[in-house]
Symmetry: C2
Subunit: 605 residues, 2 copies
């Protein structure tokens, strides 16, 4: 090693030792010709001083982020000069020899300043030298280790599944890779290792895990990345409780890293209850503000708006004090979410109800409303009325807004909950409206995915009554984020085929896309199930970061661009020619691929 | 869990316990109406017996690889019926309840038979149920853990680098991914994380590792896979000895898994010595048969063939006994390698030399030859004469053939060696001949890669005398396989630019391809170096397998095809349209990409 000690490791007990440090010039101060440097390496910072001699002469040319090697003597700082804010603050290193390992050009931004995201990503190697970003990447490594510790204890086998594979059926758009040796054919990057982990179970591996890269070519709205990471797990001969038990052990070990002890078992809530009480399948349980069902309460209403499939309310504590323009903003907020508006009633300090909706209420309703919804004087009651699903979603979102505006969330709290017993299918129209891509062209699409088993009690009826069937699935939610989800899978060919049928996937299409999985099920596939954790999100939560970009070493910015390497980039003519991209296979006369080939190439016939 | 015990865990001490097992019917025997099943799960095999009752009735329909759940009582087998070859051989389970979890169709091949590779890959989920293939995949997981144990001890940070990135400069062909949001632009899958790990060092991470997937779109000769795995490591503020020390600690911990203690420090040999004594930069040191230099010995020769740049020999012990047709086969062997033939001299039991070359030797040469090359009566001396590099390569290959034919290799031996001080550059013509792709169009190409530092003593002269410059690089060789390699990297922009210049990479090309790395070097990049291990090869060696396909869960067969999923596959017209594959960017008028775009599309102008 070029150094004898780590800068951050020096203490008073090192006094009088000669040490060699390496690192970067974090700060330089000149006090009457004596140069003080904060020398930073991965372990921390130490103050090094150039008092006299050749090294002190040289030190005058040091600038921010020069990479240096210094040799000197550790000295205890005089009383009063100590810095109790850093672990090395009791000492300094009196430098006798300085070597500049590499100079630095003037920085595009100062490391202790805020910088725009584009600049941070373009100079990510500078950004990572800052405490926050560097800490997030190091924490991620520890998160991996904490999970692997649990998995190794239970004898899980880490298996790498392929990246160059066939389209997987998660329903998002695949990234494609032209296959040079089969011009006109393409690999797809996996949206998840779902099919391969199920094949490993058929192969008798019994306990699989992988910290797996996944790829989805979706538009870059919100906090999405084209490549992201799952902790992917699958087990044979298990039921839901076994998977949940393991998952809780992993989460507990991971959250320990930041000093938080998760209380286990983590509470479970049915999907139906989550939707009814929180208007969301990923409820944030750090605060109350629950949805109150009002359909029965308004059963005799003459107010047309409330003569709906669903009427519900949430209470904003202290919301009656909102000025008019704030209440107008709520209307805009609701309109942005596709609702006509957000009906409300203000509860005065004397209990009188005001606001535009109040006059549409009967005396009985006015008398009982506050008690029914749990509103106190000074609160605001927001209503959602209309179709059940969209109305609850609106109130669920309002709940989050209320918590933010009224500061109802304890930033140090961690609220975990399992959401279980989700419906197996939902109407395709709903799925499309919520932004997912439907698989097949049926009236029904899978809420989880096509390989999720029905619960035992739905096994006989899921295809005759798809709307009532419950999936053997479980999602883990933390502070309103879905941080993982899984299910017991189908392991029998006949049941898988019935599910495909409900989803309108023809026998031919199923054979074309998943024939190999159906084949595998025919050879004694074991009962199995698993879970996948959103590893980027979990790490971001642990790091206290809002965006998963903060815990990815080299994330993409909007549009899938890497501002550092400028990927993606044009290719050369030779690359294009060799890749076989331009080849279009002859139509085969069957399957979607063949007809597609014909349609894509007008010159083919 | 559906079971109470693992099948392979049962012992005599479990006698009289009621247990529930799950697994597969490995073998079924019917002894006078009593059905015996070998029940297999991931832990091993237990014998279960159906003697009477409903379970015994049901058991008659069990077939190979049915997946079952059985409950019964553990019983100690009667004296004489024990099977000492399996750990559970002292007991059997007397079954009282049987549940068939899944049936199995008749198998395409029996699990205890040999099967062709194509069938094995198509039904990989059955193949993995066999002991050998299943063991290899489980061992791989342990190999990962053993390496991580060492790396965690030294506080390495595990970092994931991107898969969707820009072309990397290793020189092989990139796999490409069309960027839908920038039609006409492409991501490349990384051939290695080389540039990103160097950027992490610039970012102050100091100690990085990743079990990293790498991608090269090369032809599938020999034992290559389009995607393969490296254990990738990089460290700051180190020299060669530091990287070697860590690497030896990792290898030692990994080889311990199979009970072998590696003797450290592992010997080091210069590249020049390896070429001189073994005719290879990855010498197999499990046997002698060294090359002997004969140029000086033949300095007065009148034999035209030996009036060459290089003359050398290897001795085949006992080779004089080879029949004529065997000696003819050696000639064919040499011709297949591009040599005109393989000159030889046979040493008779009385010391007389025979064979076609013998008559071309002078009396002095005949008298001294055996002693010079170390041949004994009954041996055969093979000669290589011609250009140094190709002649040594021929003799080095002959050495391996001799060892195989004469059974000189102890299959239980592990011979490790570091090959150091390789030349920094080699003539481009040599590189092309050896199958590598040259970067740039200079007379010189990098033996390792363009980011390898010259050794300190070559720092001043590597560009004025490229043929003599030594690289600060090290390869680790095990039993003739290069299982890892690395180098101290260049960390200064000026030196990197000088190296590019030697390789004929113009300033513009360097900026276009690696501008971001050169930029990064300008901001105080630290001295750094690292290593990458061929993780598939290491695991295959540990598993005792010849092919890396045996340690990859779902390998590709020849041509990059996955016989299981049938990837790659045609895409639909919609996929093609959406992907932007057919878009060709406007020529920009500068850079290779722009001119390429023009050339690729005759309709563009």
């Amino acid at each position: 090693m070029l150094r004898t000690h780590l800068a951050g490791s020096l203490r008073a007990e090192h006094a009088d030792q000669t040490v060699t440090l390496t690192g970067w010039v974090a700060r330089r101060r000149d006090h009457g010709g004596v140069i003080f440097i904060d020398l930073r390496d991965a372990s921390g910072v130490a103050q090094v001083v150039f008092r006299e001699g050749a090294a002190a002469e040289q030190a005058h040319r040091l600038r921010a982020e020069y990479c240096v090697k210094v040799t000197g003597t550790v000295e205890v700082r005089p009383e009063g000069n100590q810095n109790f804010e850093i672990p090395t603050g009791a000492i300094e290193v009196n430098v006798t020899a300085l070597e500049v390992l590499n100079e630095s050009a003037p920085l595009p931004f100062q490391l202790d300043d805020n910088a725009g995201e584009e600049a941070r990503l373009k100079y990510r190697y500078l950004d990572l030298r800052r405490e926050g970003p560097g800490h997030a990447i190091r924490l991620r490594s520890k998160v991996n280790a904490a999970a692997r510790e649990v998995l190794a204890h239970h004898e899980f086998v880490e298996v790498e599944t392929p990246t160059l594979t066939r389209s997987t059926p998660e329903g998002a758009r695949d990234f494609l890779v032209p296959a040079r040796l089969q011009p006109g054919s393409f690999y797809a990057l996996p949206q998840s290792p779902q099919l391969f982990k199920q094949l490993l179970m058929v192969g008798g591996i019994e306990r699989y895990y992988q910290i797996a890269r996944c790829y989805r070519d979706e538009d870059f709205r919100a906090d999405r990345q084209p490549e992201f990471t799952q902790l992917d797990i699958e087990m044979s001969f298990v039921n839901q409780d076994d998977v949940i038990l393991l998952a809780e052990e992993i989460l507990t070990n991971v959250w320990k890293l930041i000093g938080h002890e998760i209380t286990t078992p983590i509470a479970r809530m049915t999907y139906a209850e989550a939707m009814r009480r929180y208007g969301s399948d990923k409820p944030d349980l750090r605060f109350g503000v629950e949805l109150v069902e009002c359909k029965e309460f308004f059963k005799d209403t003459t107010f047309r708006v409330f003569q709906a499939e669903y009427v519900g309310a949430v209470v904003m504590p202290g919301g009656a004090a909102q000025p008019r323009r704030e209440l107008d903003r709520w209307q805009d907020w609701a309109k942005q979410r596709g609702a006509p508006g957000l009906a409300y009633v203000l509860v005065g300090e004397d209990g009188t109800l005001t606001g535009p909706v109040a006059k549409n209420l009967t005396d009985t309703e006015r008398a009982g409303l506050a008690a029914h919804v749990g509103a106190k004087p000074g609160d605001c009651i927001f209503f959602g009325a209309g179709a059940t699903k969209s109305s609850r979603a609106l109130l669920g979102a309002a709940r989050g807004e209320i918590a933010r505006k009224q500061d109802l969330i304890d930033p140090n709290e961690w609220a975990f909950v399992w959401v279980v017993d989700a419906p197996m299918f939902e109407p395709t129209a709903d799925a499309t409206a919520s932004g997912d891509v439907a698989l097949g062209y049926s009236a029904w699409t899978a809420v989880h995915h096509a390989f999720t088993s029905p619960k035992p009690e739905s096994m006989g009826t899921f295809d005759t009554d798809p709307g009532e069937a419950l999936a053997y699935a479980y999602d883990i939610v933390c502070n309103g984020n879905e941080i993982g989800g899984g299910s017991i899978r189908i392991h029998r060919k006949d049941i898988q085929e019935r599910v495909f049928k409900v989803m309108g996937i023809s026998h031919e299409e199923a054979e074309e896309k998943f024939g190999f999985l159906l084949d595998a099920f025919a050879f004694g596939a074991p009962p199995h199930g698993g879970i996948a954790f959103g590893w980027d999100r979990i790490t971001a939560l642990l790091a206290g970061m809002d965006s998963i970009r903060e815990v990815i070493a080299f994330p993409k910015s909007g549009g899938g661009v890497d501002p550092l390497t400028d990927a993606p980039a044009p290719i050369t003519a030779q690359q294009r020619k060799e890749s076989g991209i331009d080849a279009k296979p002859e139509p085969k006369g069957d399957g979607p691929a063949a007809s597609a080939g014909g349609a894509a190439d007008p010159s083919a016939s």
